[in-house]
């Protein structure tokens, strides 16, 4: 089976979940869709079990912090359909006062540690996760260090400010 065209994939998702899935781009041919946390698990299960799509492989699960957005934490899923060699990227944005999202570890066993890592660094709480603990950082850490409010360098440093370089 050949690669599934992005339009066809998007059409299927829109037919199945009307109004729940929106395309946000296709950088370098990789279809990116955004959905919400109410339908995320239904979307993932549909993509995994649909006979024509078969996105059976969870490549990656992580998050990105955009502090300026209303819903600043984006949880990013990369799925791969091994039979058709098609990839898809799914995003769900969460607001800081409600960082709950259903766990994908009920769909893929491999999501377990990826979700623990995402919790560890971004504080996303995966509801229903069997063992949501920190994984790489120490257990008694109180912050979520990959968020943008934790700068790596001294924020008082001025020698790298953009206005010195005309931009």
């Amino acid at each position: 089976m050949g690669k599934i065209a992005n339009e066809e994939l998007l059409q299927k998702l829109n037919d199945k979940f009307p109004g729940q899935v929106a395309e946000t781009g296709a950088d370098f041919g990789l279809l990116t869709v955004e959905t919400n946390k109410e339908s995320i698990n239904a979307v993932l299960s549909f993509l995994k079990t649909d006979a024509a799509l078969q996105f059976i492989y969870l490549t990656d699960l992580t998050a990105v912090h955009y502090p300026e957005l209303e819903k600043p934490i984006g949880v990013i899923y990369h799925l791969h359909s091994l039979t058709t060699n098609t990839r898809i990227r799914i995003k769900v944005f969460l607001s800081l006062d409600d960082l709950h999202i259903p766990t994908a570890s009920t769909i893929w066993d491999g999501a377990n540690w990826m979700e623990r890592e995402t919790y560890d660094f971004f504080g996303v709480i995966f509801d229903g996760h069997p063992d949501l603990r920190r994984i790489l950082n120490v257990d008694d850490m109180t912050v979520f260090p990959m968020r943008k409010e934790f700068p790596l360098e001294d924020p008082n440093r001025i020698d790298k400010k953009d206005y010195f370089f005309g931009r």
Binding site: F28, W108, D109, G110, I135, L136, F165
Partner: protein, 403 residues
């Protein structure tokens, strides 16, 4: 073994002991800790603790220009760092839409396949050690040294190579490097053959590994396994064949698969991959001869540092040099995911770029991290000595596990 009594929790005779397996010294298998509940020699349950050498590479990467992230990738899977370096270069080149000349692609293929061989040499050699046979390890180690000498000839370093640049290589391969690669292709096959003769039908080795830690293809896919251990279960997923990068589509090679995903199958798959890698290197050397011999980087002055003598004598080169070093080059506002077939599986780079000096967010899809999470569940009911060789055959590299 069959008559071993199994105690349940409400059994008055229940007496489990707790065993701390690790953390071991980084120079052995890596810093892992598994707290095991033992019923005699048998593992009842286990909890893996990781993160002992977590170095926050993803955070550091958010504060560095692209070319300074290459040394970070070295330290992921440090047994085959050139693959990580090339994977990162290719991710950035994909973002910047840089087309590579064929010769550079072939040079990269040679280096990546050498790295794959050196990684598999360690894994299979150490698997022999863990089953009680030191000989094979010592035979093979000599040839890992030859591969390191090739790296040394090309980039000057051995383990953390920082090999290549965004846009190509920092310098051309010299004649000595090509000679060493050819010499390796002559000297290594008889040793690998001897190694296989020592192990493949060795009664002790086969008894220790066959049927141990067998994993079904369904379980492996559900745990997002990739690389040789996934192929040992019978799934022929190899990024090189599925989504060819760096002109892998020009090469004729096979993707070896196993049957039942046990330790023995993983061993065989890795051995066969070394043969295939040598086939690829052989073809790449022949293809390189047909390409113009002075090309070792793409023509992208905005991203590839000019030679020093030009920086001092040529205005454009000086401007580009300044812009690259100060991070003033324009980069597109885009998200890119690129993956390469690392020695342990699919090594992915998810790069979110906002046009700034450094990535807005960079996430490494690290095969060791994802492969290792099945270790504790699959150890249940296993003998301790089997769990040890299972760990060797997963080839978990602590640097890649913890990032």
């Amino acid at each position: 073994m069959q008559n071993h009594p199994v105690y349940t929790d409400n059994d008055p005779q229940t007496e489990y002991s707790t065993l701390n397996l690790g953390p071991t010294h980084p120079a052995t298998h890596g810093v892992f800790q598994n707290v095991l509940q033992m019923d005699g020699e048998r593992i009842v349950s286990g909890v893996s603790t990781i993160g002992y050498i977590h170095r926050a590479f993803e955070k550091i990467a958010e504060h560095r220009p692209f070319y300074q992230i290459t040394p970070l990738t070295d330290r992921l899977n440090y047994c085959s760092s050139p693959i990580n370096n090339m994977g990162w270069h290719m991710t950035v080149e994909k973002l910047l839409n840089i087309e590579m000349p064929k010769r550079v692609d072939y040079m990269r293929v040679i280096i990546m396949e050498l790295a794959r061989i050196s990684d598999h040499i360690i894994c299979n050699g150490v698997l022999g050690v863990d089953t009680g046979a030191f000989t094979g390890f010592l035979y093979m180690m000599e040839h890992r040294e030859e591969i390191y000498e090739i790296y040394e000839e090309i980039c000057g370093s051995r383990l953390t190579t920082n090999i290549g640049r965004i846009g190509g290589f920092e310098r051309n391969f010299n004649k000595i490097a090509f000679d060493k690669i050819r010499r390796f292709l002559v000297r290594f096959p008889p040793v690998l053959k001897e190694f296989e003769a020592l192990f493949n039908r060795n009664r002790i080795f086969v008894d220790r590994t066959k049927g141990v830690a067998a994993v079904t293809a369904e379980a492996a896919l559900s745990y997002s396994w990739s690389g040789p251990i996934l192929r040992a279960t019978g799934v022929d997923y190899d990024v090189r064949a599925m989504e060819p990068y760096s002109s892998y589509e020009d090469f004729d090679f096979e993707v070896p698969v196993g049957e039942n995903g046990d330790v023995y199958n993983r061993f065989l798959v890795r051995n066969e991959e070394m043969w295939q890698s040598m086939r690829i290197i052989e073809q790449a050397l022949n293809k390189i001869e047909k390409e113009p011999s002075d090309i070792f980087h793409a023509d992208v002055p905005a991203f590839y540092l000019p030679p020093k003598e030009e920086v001092y004598n040529n205005m454009e080169a000086l401007i580009y040099h300044f812009k690259i070093v100060m991070g003033e080059v324009e980069t597109p506002n885009a998200e890119v995911y690129h993956s390469v077939e690392g020695a342990n599986g699919e090594l992915g780079f998810y790069l979110v770029n906002d046009g700034g000096r450094s990535p807005y967010r960079l996430h490494f899809r690290r095969p060791s991290f994802i492969n290792y999470q099945m270790y504790a569940p699959m150890s249940q009911g296993m003998l301790l000595s089997d769990a040890i060789i299972n760990m060797s055959s997963l080839n978990v590299i602590a640097g890649e596990l913890d990032a």
